[in-house]
Symmetry: D2
Subunit: 334 residues, 4 copies
């Protein structure tokens, strides 16, 4: 018997990806929840004759939804999360609303006030590889941002192993496909502006930076992050530079990751000499990681690749749902 | 001495292309005219320290503009054209406002009323290859649509030569890059919707159809036209199918075009066995034409390629300006 | 219990797609068969620790393969098909080797001699929608070409219904993604030549034409076909033009298809006013069909879209395997 | 009167770009020199009825070529450069053959022996912004690599100003379009492998690294360089990270560049808050540079963008030709 789970924001790219994954999920059955949004496309209506409800506490309660995904903007998530929880369901929020733990951090990086301080404090950060024990019992999971997911999975093992030269810091040069910017039309993401182009934005001050600091344990001055827009629809690749004086070889660097991720179903490590690319992770929940090391100088480069809509959003949200509802962690994701 | 010419709509793709061409033109100097539009991009401001004026009759008159290009929507062109003419300048209008000759045709295909019937009657259709004699003395030139330019240059010679089986008609399967849809952001032209995609729109009822009928002399029931969106920024390629019972060979078919276009500087004909592509016409004012013919069955296929922003818009507009202001027809365009 | 099935040509795009589909198939387990081909990519090796054998009759026999897919060139298929059949397995051939029924047709369109005339005569054409009854008992199925699949599914219903004006014929303007040209590097399919480009090739004489004539019942002089290369990796969209004097409306035109395809799991019909695109069929086994009709003049346009690697190759091959091995026809394909 | 100049390697992308630029050059007239290469495309033949000669010393001498461009592989350049010089012409070599100054460096980074040690010692490195005085009298100019051009123009001013924390080094994360890999077909640059993909290669050991070390004055252990392949045809963008404890602000950082490049016609600096992109430099000889600085922590990020076929190859080669033949440095390049 499948449990019903709701999707708010199903007309966006993350919402559509949630629907695609859940339509194949062995234990969950998706229900579309309409909240001030455009109707789903004709294609979705025709080919997915799904249950569709107004996004109200009453509807959620009477439909007996076990969990609701909020694939919405932070302001909308702050409005809907308490209402959904009050209706007795659990919530995975894909926005940045509940990721940063404190009011100060939120107002600093999102430049707006947070309206739900108690839920902000209660929310569990949903990066299973590092927060798995708290997720099953959480009422509200803050699904990680796309850039921080790729960054933290590559960086935290290095800091845990105390391997890097911290005064020199870590450089994370990140590149993302256009779907990461959402589906709402604007000039920045229109075809003629993006095709055959490449550009940097939010250099050193991207709002995803604090998530990396929180999870990895770095200080802001140690972490240089640039976000850049690739002329493709989906995928994030981050190239991460550091100095690790105590490491002897690429194999020794890889070993740090192997120890950390031996039991992880969604982390794939590459042998030295090979590097991940975006084709390898497209439409998956994998994070692929490859390493290079120059033992003469102690410089290391790690490449981390995910699908921004997969492990970077909807895939990881379903992974969190699996943990919350007691399904096998990989259900619907392999 | 260069003459000053104005550009209204310089923040759009056709306007930017006009600016790019005129910046190299030996006889004309571009002036930006602001009309309810966003400021030019920082890049344009920094690298093109151009004269920039409000688009008012007074400014146009006192700046002594010889000609004004309207790279604006049809409604804006209907408003600005009389004002500009009254200020003593001449006008090349890139919109559809003045192409169709009669109020009836305009209201049928554009589904709105025309507010300038006298100018509509006066305007000269600016396809130099077929209307060259009337352009030099015109006050107002209606620059042709992008699809009709590629279509008419390929089709009218066939009808002039009385070569085709008219009851079977002509099929024109047209494909355009995204810049043809303008720069205003919308979902249809956003990157993630267009990339790796291809789709048909306005099948059999595109508003460019009447321009083809008017120039070529076909009847609507003889002309089947489909517009389709390519995942690239600029270029139009039209594949045109017909039956020509009286033609003996591909060479004979080509000869019809050679006779018609022997003196034309912007038409390039391909030898049988070769076909134009979009790379060949990108950023040019050329129309490239190739032919195939099956002499056993009398079926012909002609391929016509242009840059929709070049010969399909700004390039042709400058060609018209050259004719109107007495410059060499190819000035700034080779 | 899953049956083992072999894939020859697994390093090509169709072979890789077969592997992707079969890895999720509930009843079949893929085995890689190496025949003079490059090793599979590191990614395939790492993440798919599959059984891998030399492609010899002995290996096929001792592994007990129920069926072998030949995702190979026609010459290789002519060599391997008899050997595989002799080893007691059944064969789905994805090349053009066994599609055309007679030696004459094959030598005319493929410009080489056929070396297996008896198998050519025995092979069953594997378009399930029109040849379903002969497939289950076939030893050798000739999987249809990509272009003919999209064309025949759109055209044959019109001819069955005797709806079109045959002297005017049918125009099929076809556009394909680059993967249809195979994985072997050449200049025509290199990135810089294809990106931002569009071009026609094989106008009126493509070797896929005879498959359309055979299945639809048209004569060659009635069918004008152009193949064109889209700057995208996968997908075929065909725009089909005809005159149908006896049809009253788009709804009546659609009804022809509805009658024909009421029970078909892989044909999706669009309501008038909507048209398929390539995003809708990517990575599926669907053929999406939309119709437009001008009742004043009797002109019709039908758009047919498939994934050239899905319904146009590997997807349809698995559909044929399902019929041959007695699995549900949609197994692994929805 | 224009001087004739020869192009060897005109069928490649750099050679074609040389031809495109020289066809508009006011003082130079291009001549195609054939050396073991495929014929130029039909399009070049048809539309560029150029003088075309065998690439022999005799032909070069009798045609009176003032200069020859070698747009060839390093091995071919080592063979042709002495022959061309012996024939009395001067040479701009676009390969890596003559850039590294010493035999040891060449054999280390190119993994082959250098066959022309005297010419290697004689050659002048052709980065005009830093080597302008030696270029006019050079017989043989080694045109810089594409990646080092963008890197050195961004990095050397920082080292000249002694601004950076050298123990922490500089990270240069470089991204290039596919044309940088040449026109010869291979799987790595075929459309289906590149489109919708992004990947890193030659991490920390790219053969362009020593050019950066030589020009900038850095040591290898100070410079971490990664080359990455963008899904677009032309353009290089490099994101450069460093620590500059003595710098007070983004404006102060920019000032270092303004002092260095005040008189340079091909360097464009962006105001803080703006960053270059690849559209801005496509088909130009510009290098666009933008800066970001976090004054709290002393971390800086500089973005440098060029067209790899423009300032990264053919454009810069023509700039060098202009200096060598006494033309205005910007002739044909603005």
């Amino acid at each position: 018997m499948a449990n019903r789970v709701g999707i708010v924001g199903h007309s966006g790219y993350s919402g559509a990806e949630l629907l695609r994954i859940l339509n194949r999920h062995p234990h969950a059955e998706p229900v579309l929840l309409d909240h001030r949004e455009s109707a789903p496309s004709a294609a979705i209506r025709r080919h997915h004759p799904l249950l569709r409800l107004e996004c109200t506490p009453e509807a959620v309660e009477s439909a007996g939804l076990a969990l609701v995904f909020l694939a919405t903007a932070a302001e909308v998530s702050m409005e809907l999360a308490p209402a959904m929880l009050h209706a007795g369901t659990r919530v995975v929020d894909l926005s940045g609303a509940f990721r940063l733990g404190t009011l100060e951090r939120y107002s600093t990086w999102y430049e707006q006030l947070h309206t739900q301080p108690e839920l902000l404090a209660e929310a569990v950060y949903g990066l299973p590889e590092f927060c798995r024990e708290r997720i099953p019992s959480a009422r509200l999971v803050a699904n990680p941002g796309c850039y921080p997911t790729a960054a933290n999975l590559a960086i935290r093992p290095l800091l845990q192993a105390d391997a890097i030269d911290r005064p020199c810091g870590i450089v994370c040069d990140a590149k993302s496909g256009v779907s990461g910017a959402g589906r709402k039309p604007n000039l920045t993401t229109s075809f003629c502006e993006v095709t055959a182009n490449f550009s940097a934005y939010s250099i050193l001050n991207h709002r995803h930076v604090p998530e990396v600091l929180l999870v990895s344990g770095m200080e802001e001055h140690e972490f240089s992050f640039t976000a850049q827009l690739l002329p493709l629809d989906r995928g994030i690749l981050e190239t991460i530079y550091f100095r690790a004086p105590g490491i002897a070889s690429a194999e020794a660097l890889l070993e740090i990751y192997e120890k950390c991720y031996a039991a992880e179903p969604f982390i794939r490590l590459y042998n030295p000499g090979h590097m991940p690319d975006l084709h390898g992770v497209a439409r998956t929940n994998f994070c692929d990681i490859g390493v290079t090391f120059d033992s003469r100088s102690g410089r290391g480069v790690v490449v981390s690749a995910i699908d921004n809509l997969g492990k970077g959003a909807a895939g990881q949200a379903v992974q969190n749902m699996n943990l919350m509802l007691g399904y096998p962690e990989t259900a619907g994701l392999l």
